[in-house]
C-alpha cells in the first residue's frame, strides 16, 4: 500500500542502470531535502517530537486524507479531479445538520446519499458523453454554491437535544476521524487493487481509447469512481460537522486544493492509470507534516499555502521527468 515517491524513483533508477539519471537524481535530492527538513524541523522545533504533535499531524491529515483517498479513484480513471469538492463538503455538512432533526442515522444517510448522488451525476455526464471533467465540476460547484445560498443563509447548528459530540470524541488518544481515515484508506485500497473494478479503472486511466475499444464499461467505471469519491466527501463532511458544531459555506475552506495537492504530492499520475491509494495517504501525511512544522515555526497561513503550492509544482515536474527517463531507457 505504501508505495512512496522514493520507491517509485528508485525502481525507475534500477531499471535504467546502476547510475541514476539527472531527473531521478533530482527526485532523490528533493525527497532527501524534504526528509532533511522534517528531521531538522523535528530536532530544532520546540514541541515537534511530542506524542501530542504527532496526534495533531495525523488528525489534521484525516479530513483531507479521507476525501483524497476517494478522489484518487477519479484521477486513476483519467478524469483528473473535482474542482467543487470543497463546496460538496459544505453542502453535505449543511444537509447533515438540517437532517439531524430526523435523528442521527437518517442524517448520516441523507448526507452520504447527497454526497454520492452529487458526484454520481457529474460522473455520469463525464463518463457518458466525454464532457470535460474540470468544466463540469466548476459548473457543479457554482450550482452547489447557489444551493447553499438558497437553503442556508447563515450558520446551521444541530437542533437542541441532538448530541453529535461522539463524532469528535477521542479513543486511545486519537479522534474518530483518524480511525475513519485508516478504515476508508484500507477498504478503498483493497477494492482498487484486488477487484475487477480496480483493474478496469487503471486500464481506463492508462488509455481511454483502448479501454473503449476493448469494451470496458467506461461510463459505469467513471460513475463508480465519482460515487466513491462523493461518499468519501460526505463521510468527511459529517466528521467536520461533528468537530465544528456549526456549519456554513465557509466549511469548504481550502479542501478542494488541499485534496488535489495530497494526491499530486503522493506521486499519482495526473493523466490517470498510475498511482495508488497508498501514495495519496503518504501525500496527505507529507503535507500535514510540513504544514505542522511551518505552524510550529510561526509561519502564517499564507506561507503554508505558498510552500504547499511549491511542493506540488516540484513533485509534478520531477515525477514527470523521472517517468520520462524511465520510459526512454
Amino acid at each position: 500500500m505504501s508505495e512512496t515517491i522514493s520507491s517509485a524513483a528508485s525502481r525507475v533508477a534500477l531499471r535504467a542502470s546502476g547510475k541514476p539519471k539527472p531527473a531521478t537524481f533530482a527526485m532523490y535530492v528533493f525527497v532527501g531535502l524534504v526528509a532533511a527538513l522534517v528531521i531538522v524541523g523535528a530536532f530544532t522545533t520546540q514541541g515537534f517530537l511530542t506524542a501530542g504533535n504527532f496526534r495533531a499531524i495525523i488528525t489534521s491529515a484525516a479530513f483531507v486524507g479521507i476525501m483524497a483517498v476517494g478522489a484518487t479513484l477519479i484521477m486513476l480513471g483519467g478524469s483528473l479531479f473535482s474542482i467543487s469538492l470543497g463546496l460538496t463538503t459544505a453542502l453535505t455538512s449543511i444537509i447533515f445538520m438540517y437532517a439531524l432533526s430526523l435523528g442521527i442515522v437518517p442524517a448520516m444517510l441523507a448526507a452520504l446519499l447527497a454526497g454520492t448522488l452529487i458526484f454520481m451525476v457529474q460522473g455520469a455526464i463525464i463518463g457518458a458523453i466525454g464532457a470535460n471533467p474540470i468544466i463540469v465540476t466548476i459548473g457543479a460547484g457554482a450550482i452547489q454554491d447557489g444551493l447553499i445560498g438558497w437553503i442556508s443563509p447563515g450558520d446551521v447548528v444541530p437542533p437542541p437535544g441532538v448530541d453529535i459530540d461522539f463524532l469528535a470524541r477521542t479513543y486511545f488518544n486519537l479522534p474518530v476521524s483518524v480511525y475513519v481515515f485508516i478504515a476508508v484508506a484500507i477498504v478503498t485500497d483493497l477494492r482498487v487493487r484486488r477487484s475487477q473494478f480496480g483493474r478496469e479503472l487503471y486500464m481506463l486511466g492508462e488509455n481511454p481509447r483502448a479501454a473503449r475499444a476493448a469494451g470496458l464499461p467506461v461510463e459505469r467505471l467513471t460513475i463508480t469512481a465519482f460515487a466513491v469519491s462523493g461518499c468519501c466527501v460526505a463521510i468527511a463532511a459529517i466528521l467536520i460537522a461533528g468537530f465544528a458544531k456549526n456549519v456554513n459555506l465557509q466549511v469548504q475552506g481550502t479542501y478542494t486544493f488541499d485534496v488535489i495537492a495530497a494526491i499530486l504530492v503522493g506521486g499519482n499520475a495526473v493523466t490517470g492509470g498510475r498511482g495508488s491509494v497508498g501514495r495519496t495517504v503518504v501525500g496527505a501525511l507529507v503535507i500535514a507534516t510540513i504544514s505542522d512544522i511551518l505552524l510550529l515555526l510561526g509561519a502564517s497561513t499564507g506561507m503554508q499555502t505558498l510552500v504547499k503550492g511549491l511542493i506540488v509544482l516540484v513533485v509534478v515536474v520531477l515525477l514527470h521527468l523521472t517517468q520520462r527517463e524511465g520510459r526512454a531507457s
Binding site: G78, S79, L80, I83, I125, A128, I129, G130, A131, N132, I134, I135, V136, I138, G139, A140, G141, A142, I143, Q144, D145, G146, L147, I148, G149, W150, P208, R209, F257, I260, A261, L264, V270, T271, G272, S300, T301, G302, M303, Q304, T305, L306, V307, K308, G309, L310, V312, L313, V316, V317, H320, L321
Partner: protein, 343 residues
C-alpha cells in the same frame, strides 16, 4: 496534451457553424431580454447598467481572454486566478509610492509567471493543469503573505476615480483599455500567422510540429498573454476599488470559463477567437447586470451561471452526438444461433 484527455471527435461543419454563430445569438437574446425588461417586470435597463456591465467585463473579461486563449491552444490555465490575486497586491503595495512603477512591476511579474508556466508546459511536455494549479496555490500563498491575509487599501483614490469616470455614458478608461486589449489580440489572431498557429497547436499538436509550427514558442507566448491579461484585469479592478484582496476566490475563473464557452471556445482546443470571447464575456456580464437590476440574491446568479456552464459543457461534449445516435438507433438483436437439432 489537450485538456480533454481522450481523443476528441471533431465537430461536423454544421455544428461548427452553429458554434460560430451561437455567441452572437446568445448576446442578441440577452440584449433582447434587457430591452423587453419594462414589459416583463416593469423595470428598465439604463445606460448606467450597460456601463456597470462593461466595468465587470473589463476585469473578468480580460481573465476570460487569458483562459480562452489557453483553451484554444489546447491547454488550461488555473494560474490566471493566481496572477489575478498576486499582481494587484504588488501593484497596490508598490503603487502606494509610484502607481506607474507598481503597474509596470506587477505586469512584469505576470509576464514572468506566464513565461515560467509556458516553459514548463511546453518544454517538458507536461499537463498544464497540475502545473498551473501549483502556480495558483503558490501565488495565492504569496499574496496572503504579502497582504498578511487581509485586504490592502490603496490611498490613491484619484487614480480609481479617473479609471472609472464615465465616457460616452457607457464607457470608462477601464473598459476602453480592455477593449484595446481585446482588439489588439483580435487583430494579431486575424491578420498574422500567430492566430492560425495557436488554433493549429490546439487542434493537432503533432501535426503542427510536423508542418513546422514552433509549438513551444506559441505555447509560451499564450501563457504569457494569458497571465498579463488576467493581471491587467485584476490591477484595474484593484485600483478602481482602491483595494487589493488577499484572496479574490474562484469567481474570476468560473466567470472566465463560462464566458469562454459561451463565446464559442471549444473544450477540445483549436476553435475560438478573441471576438467570440469578448462577446461571450459581454453576454455573461449583461446577465449578471440583469440579476442586479432584478435585485436577485447572489445564489440565484450562482445557480444560473452553474446551470449555464453545465449545459454548455454537455452541448460541447465530444461524445454527445454519438451517444444521441446510439439512443435513437434501435438495437438489432443478434440472430439466434442455430440449434444442434436444426443442424
Amino acid at each position: 496534451m489537450s485538456i480533454s484527455g481522450d481523443a476528441p471527435a471533431r465537430p461536423t461543419p454544421i455544428s461548427r457553424r452553429i458554434q460560430t454563430v451561437m455567441p452572437y445569438v446568445l448576446l442578441a437574446v440577452m440584449v433582447g431580454v434587457l430591452l423587453a425588461l419594462p414589459l416583463l417586470t416593469g423595470q428598465s435597463a439604463t445606460a448606467f447598467n450597460v456601463y456597470d456591465a462593461l466595468q465587470l467585463w473589463s476585469a473578468y473579461g480580460l481573465v476570460t481572454l487569458g483562459v480562452g486563449l489557453t483553451m484554444i491552444a489546447g491547454e488550461f490555465d488555473f494560474g490566471v486566478l493566481g496572477v489575478f490575486a498576486f499582481c494587484p497586491m504588488i501593484a497596490v503595495k508598490i503603487g502606494e509610492y509610484d502607481a506607474t512603477l507598481g503597474l509596470a512591476l506587477a505586469l512584469g511579474f505576470a509576464a514572468l509567471i506566464g513565461f515560467l508556466q509556458g516553459v514548463i508546459v511546453a518544454k517538458l511536455r507536461l499537463h498544464s493543469m497540475p502545473v498551473t494549479l501549483g502556480f495558483y496555490i503558490a501565488l495565492l500563498g504569496a499574496t496572503m503573505t504579502i497582504g498578511h491575509s487581509q485586504s490592502v487599501s490603496f490611498s490613491n483614490f484619484d487614480l480609481g476615480t479617473a479609471l472609472d469616470a464615465q465616457k460616452l455614458q457607457i464607457l470608462s478608461w477601464r473598459s476602453l483599455i480592455a477593449i484595446a486589449a481585446f482588439a489588439g489580440i483580435y487583430l494579431v489572431m486575424r491578420f498574422t500567422p500567430l492566430g492560425r498557429d495557436i488554433r493549429a497547436v490546439g487542434g493537432d499538436r503533432r501535426a503542427s510540429r510536423m508542418v513546422g509550427v514552433e509549438v513551444d514558442r506559441v505555447l509560451i507566448l499564450v501563457f504569457v498573454v494569458s497571465a498579463v491579461c488576467s493581471a491587467l484585469g485584476g490591477i484595474m479592478q484593484a485600483y478602481s476599488f482602491a483595494t487589493a484582496l488577499s484572496d479574490p476566490g474562484q469567481m474570476p475563473l468560473k466567470y472566465g470559463v463560462t464566458a469562454a464557452i459561451l463565446g464559442g471556445v471549444s473544450l477540445v482546443g483549436g476553435i475560438g477567437g478573441a471576438l467570440g470571447i469578448a462577446v461571450g464575456a459581454l453576454t455573461l456580464s449583461l446577465l449578471q447586470e440583469l440579476f442586479s437590476i432584478l435585485a436577485a440574491p447572489t445564489w440565484v446568479s450562482n445557480l444560473i451561471t452553474g446551470v449555464l456552464l453545465v449545459l454548455a459543457t454537455i452541448a460541447a461534449a465530444p461524445d454527445l452526438s454519438a451517444r444521441w445516435q446510439s439512443l435513437r438507433t434501435p438495437r438489432v438483436l443478434p440472430a439466434s444461433p442455430p440449434t444442434p437439432a436444426a443442424e
